[in-house]
């Protein structure tokens, strides 16, 4: 369980980082907190020729108030968000989600951007930030672009990021004081990746109702009809949720489908009761 050989580079800034990634033409991998990539390297499932260490790029570490949104640097650790509880008005859900990720020793190193770029189907941030309608800012060697987090992931461990692109930050819209949210996941053991998960944001002031199911084969899936029903005050039945899941969550057996439906229902109940 030792990683195969690789070269290591610690660029001084974002430009150098994307240039190094571009030069390697797909043979390099960006290393942020390394809490998912580290195990994959040790198991030799991943064998990049070069690791580009971006964990300590200062420009990725800021948490800034953008007026109607919070700007969270891609290199911000889960633990920092967990500890920011009470200090990020309108982004309480972020702190709650961060607290539930893996274990403190992992949260101290793992980053928001790393989790999004790694795109594990069962990970917390791709699900939570899709429900929160966050936007990822992405930098490449030549230009920068923005994409909704909901459209970032295209499959298991696969995103729209090019080999030489990095996530720089995520802009998370601030919830109004009337907003409600729910976040539920089924984990066999605290800190494990969930078997089923769901996230919902209901914000009357912004007329926003977003519901996503996670821990599927691929990216989290939106359930807009159920979200609208929940906004109108109705918690759908498990059978209705299963029916809504059927076209977007394929390949689930009966137990899996029920588990996902219950996760969705519990997230909705949390939101309405909160």
């Amino acid at each position: 369980m030792k990683a195969a050989s690789f070269d290591y580079a610690r660029p001084r800034d974002l430009g150098e980082a994307t240039r190094l990634l571009a030069q390697a033409a797909g043979a390099a991998k960006a290393l942020a907190g390394g809490q998912s990539l580290g195990p994959m390297l040790n198991l030799r499932l991943a064998r990049p020729a070069l690791l580009v260490d971006i964990a300590r790029l200062e420009s990725l570490h800021a948490i800034a108030d953008g007026g109607d949104h919070w700007l969270i640097g891609a290199g911000v650790t889960h633990a920092r968000l967990e500890d920011a509880s009470g200090a990020l008005p309108g982004a309480e859900m972020l702190c709650h989600v961060a607290h539930g990720i893996a274990y403190r020793a992992v949260r101290n190193r793992g980053t928001v951007g790393g989790s999004l770029a790694h795109a594990d189907p069962a990970a917390d941030w791709p699900l939570a930030l899709a429900a929160l309608d966050a936007t990822a800012e992405i930098a490449g060697p030549k230009f920068a672009r923005r994409t909704p987090v909901a459209a970032l992931m295209t499959g298991a461990f696969t995103t729209v990021l090019a080999d030489d692109e990095l996530i720089v930050s995520v802009a998370v819209p601030k919830a109004s004081p009337q907003a409600r949210w729910g976040y539920y996941k089924f984990c066999r053991k605290p800190g494990e990746f969930p078997d089923a998960s769901a996230a919902v944001v209901l914000d009357p002031a912004r007329k926003v109702a977003r519901l996503y199911a996670g821990a599927l084969d691929g990216p989290p899936q939106a359930l807009p009809a159920l979200a609208a029903a929940a906004a109108a005050g109705t918690v759908p039945s498990l059978d209705d949720i299963e029916a809504a899941l059927a076209p977007v969550a394929r390949g689930l057996d009966d137990i899996d489908r029920r588990l996902h439906a219950v996760a969705v229902q519990r997230a909705l109940k949390q939101a309405i009761a909160r």
Binding site: G38, L43, H118, A122, L161, K207, A209, G218, P224, R250
Partner: protein, 391 residues
């Protein structure tokens, strides 16, 4: 080799390390700090937990080369720490260890719990300990030891006034503004669509996947094309044909899923039923790099789908063993197989009708499936057309 300067247990250390060496090995092998234990070596068991810049972290999934400039504290560095002295005492009094293998990681985690969460109750202690595995104690002694230290510390300070949480106003229903969720998949000309999920019928340990796609060519033509093995290999991203006759095929399949790259080499036999326009491919392959093996079969059947088009129904059954399977908890292989079918359908269509090549172009032979790159290429192409220049 990379040269690093760092502080370990208050002492300055300069060393040349191989980038691939993980931090725990560096501490144990270079510095002889063998109090840091290695259990799983992939970040699950917590035995290797140390303090990195004052915060607990797994040293088995950090790399020494990445710790240049950091300040580390291993269990040996806590000798003079007053809180750790209390914890050691409590661990002893409460029988919080038997073999002692998990203890260094447990103590570093316990130190963090007491410092960060002075009001933690038993439930919270257990939650915070979830990342450290112990196979001897059943955790009871460890939890009691931490409770004992917290209680002793609490007795020594004045109780903080409880802050009442503000009462939440009841939820007021509202009409949500219609919002179309962003599509994560690019539009493809030939769309793969779902069939009956047939998981219940799958053999034990095998995964079954039922998909179908439409090709805008009559069944007889599609049937002929599907018998053309080099053509099929060219449409399947990452596939390479080594040798083949009408019934047997040997080849390789490269897949890239995020940071995972695997190259399966294998062989398959093909049966085709001309009358039913249906076929079966059975095969097996292995990937030396990840130590993974797969066996599988693909059944396909053709049916007319309106005038001049054919629906190809595909059933894939496979089993996966080895490192890739251990890792594949979230059905990565199923997602991959589904995307491969979609990509195959798009590539087949683009080949049959080059003028219509609106879908992402076929991957270069041997490049492997990398949908991220394909999608990005497609977006870039769209942008270029929109702005009339190369972006």
């Amino acid at each position: 080799m990379t040269t690093i300067d760092l502080t370990v247990n208050g002492r300055s250390v300069t060393a040349a390390v191989e980038p691939r060496q993980h931090l725990a090995d560096f501490l144990r092998e270079h510095l002889r700090l063998t109090g840091t234990h290695l259990g799983c070596e992939h970040g699950v068991c917590g035995a290797c937990t140390i303090e990195m810049d004052g915060m607990p972290a797994r040293s088995c999934i950090a790399f020494a080369a990445a710790c240049d400039g950091m300040s580390l504290r291993t269990i040996e560095g806590f000798d003079e720490d007053p809180l750790m002295a209390e914890l050691r005492e409590a661990f002893s009094a409460e029988h919080a260890l038997q073999c002692g293998f998990c203890t260094p990681g447990m103590l570093v985690t316990a130190h963090d719990i007491v410092q960060r969460l002075p009001d933690a109750d038993e439930k919270r202690i257990r939650l915070e300990l979830a990342g450290n595995l112990c196979r001897c104690t059943g955790y009871a002694g460890i939890v009691n030891a931490i409770k004992r230290v917290l209680a002793a510390r609490k007795a020594g300070r004045t109780a903080s006034a409880a802050v009442a949480a503000p009462a939440a106003a009841p939820f007021v229903p509202f009409a949500a503004a219609a919002s179309a969720p962003a599509a994560a998949t690019p539009p493809a000309f030939a769309r793969a669509s779902a069939g009956e999920p047939g998981l219940a019928a799958a053999k034990a340990g095998w995964t079954e996947l039922v998909e179908s796609f439409v090709v805008r060519r009559p069944p007889a033509e599609v049937w002929r094309i599907l018998g053309d093995l080099p053509m099929i290999a060219a449409c399947l991203p990452g596939a390479e044909l080594d040798e083949h006759d009408a019934r047997n095929v040997k080849g390789r399949m490269r897949v890239k899923v995020g940071p995972i790259a695997a190259a399966f080499a294998g062989a398959a036999t093909i049966e085709r039923d001309e009358a039913r326009m249906a076929g079966t491919v059975r095969g097996a392959g292995s990937d030396g790099a990840t130590g993974s093996r797969t066996r599988g079969e693909v059944e396909y059947a053709l049916q007319a789908d309106g005038a001049g088009a054919t629906r190809v129904a595909v059933t894939i059954r496979y089993s996966l063993q080895g490192a890739l399977a251990q890792f594949s908890r979230s059905n990565v292989a199923r997602d991959l197989a589904r995307r491969l079918i979609g990509q195959f359908a798009a590539n087949l269509d683009a080949r049959l009708d080059p003028g219509r090549a609106a879908a992402p172009g076929p991957a270069a032979p041997g490049e492997g499936l990398d949908l991220g790159r394909l999608v990005w290429a497609w977006i870039k192409d769209r942008l270029a057309r929109l702005f009339g220049r190369n972006v």
